[in-house]
Symmetry: C2
Subunit: 369 residues, 2 copies
């Protein structure tokens, strides 16, 4: 049989195109246009207290510019501009939306819960309904983890909603997430098949004495260390036996980096062998729980100078199953699907689309928006 280079190339392109259609972006941030959009859902005494801080928790020296709308509106506030700038050019058919708000560090658990509820109502009415004719937007249920009982009720409130597909919490907390008072949240997530996303934020701020980095001085210091809180929470959840107690619970590490995972798995597996008498509820190697229960979004993926090194490390952690593509739009850290071109078509297809479909129980066409 003759080999036809042209048809080979065509086939490769078709494969590439196929693997890049129906992309699911698992970390897209949207915001209300102004405080009034949230306030309309808040009763007193909370309403008059609510405002939107310009910088969430930590002052980045880099202000997003590319994602400001042509008429000067804030990044992540306009659905049509988001479709035009993010979805269409990159073949993204589904965006998992993670609104960001100031709830996890607040001293008043009732205020924090009320703000979370107001954001969920706002997201449900706008991005998940009014702006969602094509069904491109899926939402994250915001909860205030200071009061896990109340947070569980908030999850129950939205669990049947067709477009809320996960729960999201900040990494900043009073205690590592394996500790027992958090279990009502995990029980609600597991019962409703809702993954729990942990997003960086509120570490060491306000009431959050779990300050994994202490009190960093610069944004570079803070951002370079985003993985530390994630690792703390995962180690705590493993050693406290959360995944045995809630076998259906899935955790999504968003914006926490990726390549630290193999070293953590090795360290955990090694110490588990000598110390498991202390944690008899752990039935498997820590790395097995991590593979089964944890997913990680790709932005910010560490990029060494040589892709071979990155591939070597990824191959040590079942990356084809564990990773979910994310752009982190509209942040300046934005990463397009093209940044995964160094992976095999099979790995790309899983990370860009299949893994998220499975995780979020999405049944979507592969057509573009």
């Amino acid at each position: 049989m003759m080999i036809n280079p042209l048809s080979e190339e065509t086939e490769a392109r078709a494969e590439l195109s196929k693997s890049q259609s129906g992309i699911i972006d698992c970390d897209v941030h949207v915001y209300p246009r102004n405080a009034e959009e949230i306030k309309q859902y808040l009763a007193q005494p909370w309403k008059h207290r609510f405002h939107i801080r310009k910088n969430h928790y930590f002052q980045s020296p880099v202000t997003p510019r590319r994602t400001v709308t042509p008429d000067g509106r804030s990044p992540g506030t306009e659905p049509e501009f988001l479709r035009e700038q993010l979805l269409r050019p990159h073949g993204i058919t589904t965006a998992i939306l993670l609104p960001r708000a100031d709830v996890s560090a607040n001293h008043d658990p009732d205020y924090a819960a009320a703000v979370a509820t107001a954001y969920n109502k706002w997201l449900s009415d706008t991005w998940l309904n009014e702006y969602n004719a094509d069904g491109a937007f899926k939402g994250s249920i915001m909860i205030a983890h200071q009061d896990p009982q109340s947070a569980a009720k908030e999850i129950e409130r939205w669990a049947g909603h067709p477009h809320f597909v996960q729960v999201v919490i900040d990494s900043g907390a009073r205690a590592p997430f394996g500790q027992r008072h958090y279990y009502p949240i995990y029980d609600a997530c597991a019962r409703h098949g809702l993954p729990l996303a942990i997003h960086p934020g509120a570490d060491g701020i306000g009431i959050n004495i779990l300050a994994s980095q202490g009190y960093p001085s610069h944004f570079l210091e803070y951002y370079a260390g985003l993985s530390f809180a994630m690792q703390v929470h995962l180690v705590s959840m493993l050693t406290e036996g959360v995944f045995e107690r809630f076998p259906d619970l899935k955790i999504v590490i968003t914006e926490g980096g990726v390549t630290w995972m193999p070293a953590l798995m090795w360290r955990l597996d090694q110490e588990y062998k000598g110390l498991r008498s202390e944690v008899p509820w752990m039935k498997k190697l820590p790395s097995e729980y991590l593979r089964d229960h944890v997913r990680m979004t790709t932005q910010p993926l560490e990029r060494p100078q040589r892709n071979e090194e990155l591939l070597d490390v990824l191959s040590m952690m079942n990356y084809e199953e564990m990773l979910l593509f994310s752009s982190d739009y509209p942040d300046e850290h934005f990463a397009s699907p093209d940044q995964l071109e160094f992976l095999t078509p099979r790995a790309r297809s899983r990370i860009l689309s299949e893994n998220a479909k499975l995780l979020y129980h999405l049944n979507i066409s592969s057509k573009g928006v």
Copy 2:
């Protein structure tokens, strides 16, 4: 020329033997036999307050048994037994001693400084003098980092001593180590060519609000996360510009694990590119500072199931220069030099001996003790 397999083997053995003679163990813990050994160096009002806690900071479920002396004395208290059990059988000619005491978490900086001074006097009189006829023991200057000015004076006090070769602090602290009030310590270390070892301990205990892991529930959780505080301190020292301000400062990460380093280098280098306007004092890539200024002891080295994976990761971080062999004697985590047999003879020779000789300015014979 004929190849003689026997002579080849002899040569290889000679090379191996050469590389394993004169081994330097960079993390050996010694303790006073009883509280009186320290109290004799303490004045009132400190003397009556001093006692030795059975467990330093965190209760391990594993008590060292193999290192209890034949007549039932505590591990790490008897020099002849330590020679017999650690030095002679493993060809270790030099042990860098790191006494462990309860100074970094104490609310009273004067008490903490007095205890540190007492330990230094005790170590100087015993392990570095009375027990040191063969010169096998080198010491670490203990300081209480709560009061950096006083700590710097303590360093000055011992800097000319022939057998104190580094300064040691606990990782547990009130703030990440890049922050400015710590600089008198770095100034003293750099001026006297004394590396600063950071050893796990006192994280989140007492006054140490830098609780990198929050308040872990189990020893496994704590031990698996030992690297987090180390990473926090390194990121802080880099971004605050400590290594530009003190170009001669060397940091030794002891008992903090190893294989997390490449992922941290990648993350730092990547974010530095976008955020360096914030830290104009950083003149080089973060990974370059780490390679030049940081050394890491090998115990506990993460051990994946396949040595190839470990070698791959090590090769991403200049491991031949950065690693220093350590046994962590008399802890149950003890690792012998044999555990590095998977490395090349050249790498082993550097890690077992040459790197430490350079770092600590040791001029020692390669004969066994």
